[in-house]
């Protein structure tokens, strides 16, 4: 029973890691770049939602408030690419790494300036309520997190597999010159993907915030999400999600049954084991592409 309890909580937490990891994968799939500010974009999205929803601030109804936050953060993501990242066009990958790390600092500072550094709680209509199923208590926020993550992953998968824009993004990531000559506006597309990634980060942030208080440093969770994305194979959306869930589940189990300290190390231990045994990740696209 206890294991089951830990498992469900772990899956829900893992979904949040997974969603942030999805943000990594989105940008990587489309632009071959890694956005190390992904965790901070999640944090910023959560604070935007808090600013729109909480009674002390704008006090909008929950759903419209969250949607508005996702849209605004989408715009912020688009703008970051349009104004900042695009300047690095043609530069070595590493400059993007440094740039996005710096971007994370900036977002943290801005959030701290606007909303302060003391932990605050997002007012949701469902937090704190729970369901009891045969001795296992499941929080509403966990159920919602799992459902929303599932739907969002499906939508993103369909976006890449089915839509004109998603296919164009995949094409552009494989060969930009070729994408241009078939009529893909590569740079604008990259900005759109950054926007999408900002919106997904916001949803992740709201789900995270519905489980507890937030402060401008919660974005550091992005490092765990990065590990999740690596475990999943970095180019794979379902891989990122499952990598996140794996970490989310192992953490509380390790905390409960293994010596102290192991739990905090566990995401990175899993990442190392995966990198050593299956260097392309558990759901590697490269392997699938070998014919």
């Amino acid at each position: 029973m206890e294991v089951l309890q830990l498992l469900i909580g772990g899956i829900a937490t893992g979904c949040i890691y997974g969603l942030v990891a999805l943000g990594f994968v989105l940008i990587y799939k489309a632009t071959e770049g890694v956005n190390f500010a992904q965790g901070d974009m999640m944090m910023f999205g959560a604070f935007l939602a808090l600013g729109f929803v909480n009674s002390g601030h704008m006090g909008l109804p929950f759903l419209p408030g969250v949607l508005l936050a996702a849209i605004v953060m989408g715009g912020v993501g688009y703008g970051i690419d349009r104004v900042v990242v695009r300047q690095l066009f043609g530069q070595p990958q590493f400059s993007l790494v440094i740039l996005t790390i710096a971007l994370g600092f900036v977002l943290r500072f801005v959030a701290g300036t606007i909303w302060g550094y003391t932990p605050v709680v997002l007012e949701t209509p469902y937090s704190g309520r729970s369901l009891s199923l045969g001795g296992v208590i499941i929080g509403y926020e966990d159920i919602i997190t799992i459902l929303v993550t599932g739907v969002l992953t499906l939508l993103l998968w369909a976006f890449f597999a089915k839509t004109r824009l998603g296919l164009a993004a995949q094409a552009a990531s494989q060969n930009q010159m070729a994408a241009y000559i078939v009529g893909v506006p590569v740079q604008r597309l990259n900005s759109i993907i950054w926007g999408l990634s900002g919106a997904v980060a916001t949803i992740a942030g709201v789900l995270y915030a519905s489980k507890g208080a937030i402060d401008p440093n919660i974005g550091l969770l992005g490092i765990k999400a990065f590990a999740a994305a690596v475990i999943g194979g970095f180019g794979s959306l379902p891989g990122a999600l499952l990598g996140g869930i794996l970490i989310g589940v192992v953490e509380p189990l390790a905390a409960r049954y293994l010596p102290s300290g192991i739990s905090q190390m566990s995401p990175y231990v899993i990442m190392l084991v995966v990198l050593v045994t299956r260097p392309n990740g558990l759901f590697s696209q490269i392997q699938a592409k070998k014919v």
Binding site: K162, A168, A171, A178, Y180, V182, V291
Partner: protein, 258 residues
Amino acid sequence: MSLLEVEDLAIHFGGVKAVDGVSFTVEEGEVFSIIGPNGAGKSTIFNLISRFYRPTRGRIRFDGQDITGLAAHQIAPLGIARTFQNIELFDHSTVLDNLLMGRHTHRRTNFVQDILFLPKVRREERAHRQRVEEVIEFLELEHYREKMIAGLPYGVRKVVEIGRALSIGPKLILLDEPASGLSVEESEEVAFWIEDMRRDMGLTVLMVEHDMGLVTQVSDRVLAVANGQPLAMGTAAEVQDDPHVKAAYLGTPEEDAA
């Protein structure tokens, strides 16, 4: 009115005048070739037409429309397709997917329709697939349809690139050294395809090529360039006999000294 009009085109990279005052027109239904020694600026002319480069001066007009100020992704919808000297394909996709990407600008369904895979989407997809299948049949790529580009031999990848260009459904196709690196048989096949593109598909072909056999066989007119400047224009035979062209390829004592 000519299909493509290039007027006093020039691009300078710093002090290097890669293209310097090239003018020519390509008539509808014509096969027009550009020849010249390596580094003459032939591919640069293509990259200017494709809008990868912004010309230092000059105008490019297609179908009466000035395209000099357009962005690179706005060229395909006008009906200009191209291949690259060094093959630019989507390497981790199949031949079929590469050709289907050529239909990108023809897709009319939106986001939501795509995700829901509505009948309209299916209908449109079938039409695109049919278009692509015609190209596959034309270039005899049936055998490679589901193969990943990364594993294909050079000659096949070259053909796939022509296939993707044709899938765009262009009026004008720019072929950048379509025969380079190909065997004699393969390059003869390319010659047949070019003939067919013109005759059966009504395409206009602008080609950069070193293989004078191919150039002579398919071209209506030939432009020779060297050091970014036009040397001679006319039929393949006329251009090959031109003293300036001979000098550019073989060098003259005076030029060697210079």
